[in-house]
Symmetry: C2
């Protein structure tokens, strides 16, 4: 029998099943209230509208949209994306856009395009687990940069770059990866000052800035901060957007915006990654945008998520015990709240205590390239129903209270 | 301004825009009859059926199928795939199947899982251009093995393996990549004897065998040869199947079948490649299979393609000049005919002469990892309408006749 282990690439050898996914299987019971998944609420999905648009598109252009599309994406969708981004101060032409089969595809293609094994990508602390996995698969050396409630600290970034350059490894430095809006997992939004600061450091040191923006349009309150793409004056930024959070994940439509030169290179790579994204999905999304559905439905998404965030934060204020060092973020949008436990407290142990109380979350260590942040965890507020959120947080408060007493 | 060239990975540096795509832009005019694309005929697409199934699936399970799916694929589709493959003598369980977003995704994931830069993959001569691109992006050393009208020659494969081992590079050898049924581009089907021979060589030398089978169900005549997967007794084979040729490309549904261990590894990799394939597409395909549509429509596909193949072969017999060494394949299925010109004749020069006569094809050199096969080209017979096929071949015959006279 073939011994696969002998044949695997370094990538396959080093890829491990996600410890988080394995851990979360413990919580996969109907009685558990899960704040773990990074999921939108299916109750909000405009199913009938999508069904109607499917029928319309198939009737009008069935033979075209069921055929192969082009690697770069459908011109009709790009037109709509140009309008959509223009409302957010982002000026782009069709040649600046590459349609992606979900923005995770962008996270896979960027290290493919920029990372040789051992090359360096600077990330926020914490950062998105899916980006860690994608970068890991190309042997990326991820360097977490100090990040606070205002976002990544440009001074810390510059210091880290300086250290690598001093060691003569400046040509290893490739990317600064950021989720500037309602970050996954922290919920934090980077201030304009910090954005300008990081862009300035990246420009001076010739680094590509990846602006991963899946939650940008999920703002419930406060004023939008200009996007990295809009602020950039050095053609340093590539932005990743998706319809997974503002419409539905199941159409698998996302896109990248960047310089023509970079989009052209990524388009060539996409040909061998999956040939093309579904033309049918692309035309349905284009119709959704063209007929004003986004303006109609997105405010409902945001109203629902705002309501759920408020319920979660209120319940946390009510049920979480008063522990020295226990704190959490209060995001102005997105899907997540980030909890920091007292420094000596292990979130993995709390996880097991929480599952015994039938509530679940994701460990902070999942969001750190080398498993730090062991005293942190992420809560998602968009997926569970409001009454389940309150009940879940009361269970979590109970688990934490007991756990703190046992640890004391 | 950011200098991307300094930042690119080896992969991005080495990736070139496909010369073939650039060349084919010359032929992108309405007056040109193109036999270039490897496309199914959109006239055959069961658009209304797909539309009805979309509506049904969205009505019954809209919130589920528009949400994230699992990386391994939807259980409901896998059930249907198990039935479908059983009819072809392939015995598989759900854990042997990974759903893919088009089989090109499998061609991207296999080198990711098995190839370190410089590792060796043995391929047929000629082989599929999309596989060449995918393997190239991981720095694969592709070694073309002698292939004739019966498929890859196992003696030649064993000889090549021996040479690498003798040079002490046996641990570089990873994969034998085959398209055994109605090969792209040659149209050739590998005999059972050759299949057993290659499986035997691969088993003795511990190589993975990739059985790329997009055209397997497009048989117009003759008896099916048992699949590599069915013949394998060493758990050496992974097969890639797709609905792009037997249903429509636009749903982007394909799948891999292999050992549990390998499917498990690929599933972990898929999480970071695109998270999951569209649940909506998967459920539509599952319904299509469950309601017997495949049995109803596939014979119509095959009848149409058989008719077109016959027209093309008849026209070739009629219009191609009598040149010493000019020959072409007579496939029993699939989408392609492979033409070999007299040895000294350059297909690229003929291409330009053909475009002047308003007919196009793909150069043979596209199907060779280092650009060999310069006196060959591929004709597709599935896409063009029957009357266009006859007219196109008459133009091609004219171009070739003139070209041969000028070259003489």
């Amino acid at each position: 029998m073939l011994d696969l282990e002998k044949l695997y690439s370094t990538t396959a050898r080093e890829t491990r099943k996600s410890a988080i996914r394995e851990l979360l299987k413990l919580a996969d019971k109907p009685e558990v209230i899960s704040f773990a998944g990074g999921w939108p609420s299916p109750d909000l999905f405009p199913v009938d509208t999508i069904s109607d648009l499917m029928v319309k598109v198939l009737k009008e252009r069935g033979r075209k949209v069921l055929h192969y599309s082009k690697a770069e994406g459908e011109a009709r969708l790009k037109e709509e994306l140009i309008h959509l981004m223009a409302k957010d101060g982002v000026s782009a032409e069709a040649e600046n856009i590459l349609v992606l089969t979900g923005s995770q595809q962008g996270l896979d293609m960027l290290p493919k395009a920029f990372v040789n094994r051992g090359d360096v990508v600077f990330v926020e602390t914490p950062t998105y687990v899916g980006a860690i996995q994608a970068f890991d698969n190309y042997g990326t050396h991820m360097v977490p940069i100090e990040t606070d409630g205002s976002g990544m600290n440009p001074v810390a970034l510059e210091k880290a770059i300086g250290e690598w350059k001093q060691r003569g490894q400046g040509d290893r430095l490739k990317i600064v990866y950021l989720i500037p809006d309602f970050q996954n997992p922290s919920g934090i939004t980077m201030t304009e000052k910090r954005r300008r600061g990081v862009l300035d450091v990246a420009a001076r040191h010739d680094l590509l800035v990846v602006d991963d923006a899946p939650y940008r349009d999920l703002r419930f309150e406060g004023k939008p901060v200009p996007s990295l793409y809009a602020l950039d004056q050095n053609q340093s930024v590539i932005s990743l957007y998706t319809f997974s959070k503002t419409l539905v994940p199941g159409l698998r439509v996302a896109w990248a915006v960047g310089t023509r030169q970079l989009i052209d290179k990524l388009t060539t790579l996409k040909q061998s990654v999956d040939l093309c994204s579904s033309a049918l999905s692309q035309h349905v999304v284009a119709e959704y945008l063209a007929t004003g559905c986004m303006e109609r439905y997105l405010p409902m998404f945001n109203a629902d998520y705002r309501h759920k965030r408020d319920i979660m934060l209120e319940a946390m204020d009510e049920f979480m015990p008063g522990l020295q060092g226990l704190e959490w973020t209060r995001p102005e949008g997105g899907l997540f709240i980030w909890v920091t436990l007292p420094e000596n407290m292990d979130a993995e142990k709390l996880f097991h205590a929480a599952v015994r109380e039938n509530v679940a979350f994701v460990l902070g260590s999942a969001f750190h390239p080398t498993g730090g942040l062991k005293n942190c965890f992420r809560l998602n507020f968009s997926f569970a129903a409001p009454e389940r959120i309150r009940e879940g947080i009361s269970r979590l408060g109970r688990a934490l209270t007991k756990f703190a007493q046992e640890s004391a």
